[in-house]
């Protein structure tokens, strides 16, 4: 018996050794110098797959469009996506895989924690990183990292200002996800910004991803405290349950959300009439009527069979922003990763981009975008501009 155990371990050790050497063969120096190699990272499997797929699909769509139109400065773009399963450790692995493939510019990671972990590596390699949707403050703490979306603090501050400026409410209740970086980040900044504004926070109740099915306690507390507006800095799946349960208990305040609420009209088995009057700050609405959005939504839907959300819009913009920055500095693919990064870094603070998520975007050297948040309200099952 013992002998066979040893044989097994010997066999396993051999397998390990062989698999490692097999892994080594993949190394390449990114030699081909006539294409720009752009990589994207996001959760393509698991619970957050909707976000990762949206980012990776939209980036792919943008790359295909660019190639069809002749590439960037005449150079074609090569594109590759990798899965990180919403796991920072795997995200770094995905980054290393893409680096072996020869990636020179990174669009990613999709989510905040992964993006922060990867930025540690892009900083070490001095690779240009543009995260479409990594919204936590620390995502862009290094000078080689920029983002397309609003940061969490910006969303919290903008929401508080919007509620105050438009006199939407005097008493505000908050329901947020304390186990989620995005949600608790917005909540913190919203609360800080609310001090000294013309409304008062009367209840702030948390839930976690382990108990996100019953919100009656949180809603009851907001109701008892007399909140006439409930702020929901959360993703749309939980929000759809909150709206349904609020309706059941006959509580009808104004519900105000941020960009995570985008997508609420697509939730299966959700009575969209309950979302009437819900307000949200979002950079992108899929049924906007400008040509850019209409074309994007049409092409995306044709190719992937679903309506793109704001993650997709951010990623689509990200690829075009990179194109614009490359053109501004006449970057060529034969430059080293580090030289490309330096050129793009300085280009980012100079360009003024126009895309799906804003007609006018500029960047500070610290990586934060300057763009106006758009408030939309849901009327007759569609987003309508609130102003």
């Amino acid at each position: 018996m013992k002998k066979f155990n040893e044989l097994v371990s010997l066999a396993a050790a051999t397998v390990m050794a062989v698999s490692m050497i097999a892994g080594c063969g993949a190394a390449s120096d990114g030699g081909s110098s006539d294409t720009f190699k752009i990589g994207a990272i996001g959760p393509l499997t698991g619970g957050a797959a909707a976000y990762g797929n949206a980012v990776c699909n939209a980036a792919e769509l943008a790359v295909e469009e660019i190639n069809a139109a002749g590439g960037i400065n005449g150079y074609k773009v090569e594109y590759k996506k990798e899965d990180d399963e919403l796991n920072a450790e795997k995200s770094v692995n995905a980054y290393n895989t893409l680096k072996d493939w020869g990636m020179k510019i990174l669009v990613g990671s999709t989510t905040s924690a992964c993006s922060i972990a990867v930025s540690e590596n892009t900083k070490a390699d001095n690779m240009f990183q543009l995260t479409p949707s990594g919204s936590a403050e620390d995502c862009v703490k290094y000078d080689n990292a920029f983002r397309v979306c609003f940061s969490d603090p910006n969303q919290g501050i903008a929401s508080a200002q919007y509620i105050s400026d438009n006199n939407l409410a005097t008493k505000v209740g908050i329901i947020y996800d304390s186990s989620d970086v995005y949600s608790s980040g917005i909540y913190q900044k919203f609360t800080e910004e609310a001090a000294g504004k013309n409304f008062e926070i009367v209840s702030a109740e948390a839930f976690t991803q382990d108990n996100n099915t019953d919100f009656s306690v949180q809603l009851q507390k907001a109701k008892d405290a007399g909140a006439d507006l409930v702020f929901l800095p959360i993703y749309y799946k939980d929000a759809s349950l909150i709206l349904t349960q609020a309706n059941t208990m006959g509580y009808a305040p104004i519900f105000f959300g941020v960009d995570g609420l985008d997508g609420i009209l697509t939730v299966e088995n959700f009575d969209t009439s309950l979302a009437e009057g819900v307000m949200l700050l979002t950079p992108f609405a899929a049924d906007a009527t400008d040509d850019l959005t209409v074309n994007f939504v049409k092409n995306y839907q044709e190719k992937y069979g679903e309506i793109p959300n704001q993650f997709a819009a951010d990623a689509y913009d990200a690829v075009y922003i990179i194109k614009q920055a490359i053109e501004a500095k006449n970057v060529t693919p034969d430059m080293s990763t580090s030289d490309i990064c330096e050129a793009l870094k300085s280009a980012m603070t100079e360009i003024e981009a126009s895309g799906l998520t804003s007609a006018k975007m500029t960047w500070e050297a610290n990586g934060e975008p300057n763009k106006e948040p758009k408030a939309v309200v849901i009327k007759n099952g569609a987003y309508v501009s609130a102003q």
Binding site: M16, C24, D100, A113, I116, D138, Q188
Partner: protein, 348 residues
Amino acid sequence: MNKTKDNLITYGIVIVAYIILQTLAVTGILSSHMKGLLVPMTYYAVIAVALNLCVGILGELSIGHCGFMCIGAFTSAFFSKLTEASIPAAPRFILAFIIGIAFAALFGFLIGIPVLRLKGDYLAIVTLAFGEIIKNVINAFYIGVDKNGVHFSLKNAMELNMEPDGQLIVNGAMGITGTPHNSSFTVGIIVLLLSLFVVLNLINSRDGRAIMAVRDNYIAAEATGINVTGYKMMAFVISAAIAGAAGVLFSHNITTLTASSQYFGFNASIMILVYVVLGGIGNIRGSVIAACVLYLLPELLRGLNTYRMLIYSIVLIVMMIYTWSPKVLEWRKRTLGKINLPWKKANI
């Protein structure tokens, strides 16, 4: 004699693997993808060794070992973040190890006090709950430091009332970001060798035989005067401490440490248990190899995109059948038994 040789083979495998991989890494033959996988491989091997001590040698099922890893990760990352400016990297990392290991052992001890007195599967239930609780508790912690000292809150970061120059260290669900990147493959291998040394020597010692006696026959062990609870406690605390060491490596390898399910939850603990079961319960060397192979596998299958999940599970099933099915064992005996390798003769 035989056991010593067996242990030396285990150390030898680890050292040879280290030398080969390190040479490949230094000469630049190893891809960056593989280089990035080396450190995670070592800490998963370390925690698999720890869990095997608990499951295989002590015979108590623990399905919350990632909870101890979580404790080790957070306490050590907290310490490193706090003293990043004041202590140089090498002594700070050693101190971080001591702190992470000590806290994980302490929690192992606290959990052991009530549970290890009981017979049956209570440890599994309690460690399962512990793993989930610790994750949620840490998610609610807000700890900051300014010149007035340490501030603590369970509500939110604003409640800390810190001075403007204060540094927020643990930020609720956002966890600890910016832990210094100290873990390296060499450190990981040293930790793995040390934990192998501790576990293998424990198994071959008087205490280890007592622990295995408790596993094999509780009543007989008690009747011969073995302090059953004491030995159970000893093995469990050592196991928790080694899991804590894995946590220290973990938190100093990636810079964002969040107490979320994918790292420290129930599923993560089960994954470690899978490493142990497929490597062979009670077979320490098997745990190391299984942890490395099973961690590498999904990464090496990246080229197959989403199919890798499918293949990974098929490999798990095949491995399980190959290692444990009586029919297959018989078949292996018939076919492989005919091959007489010279160094095998000693065992026959």
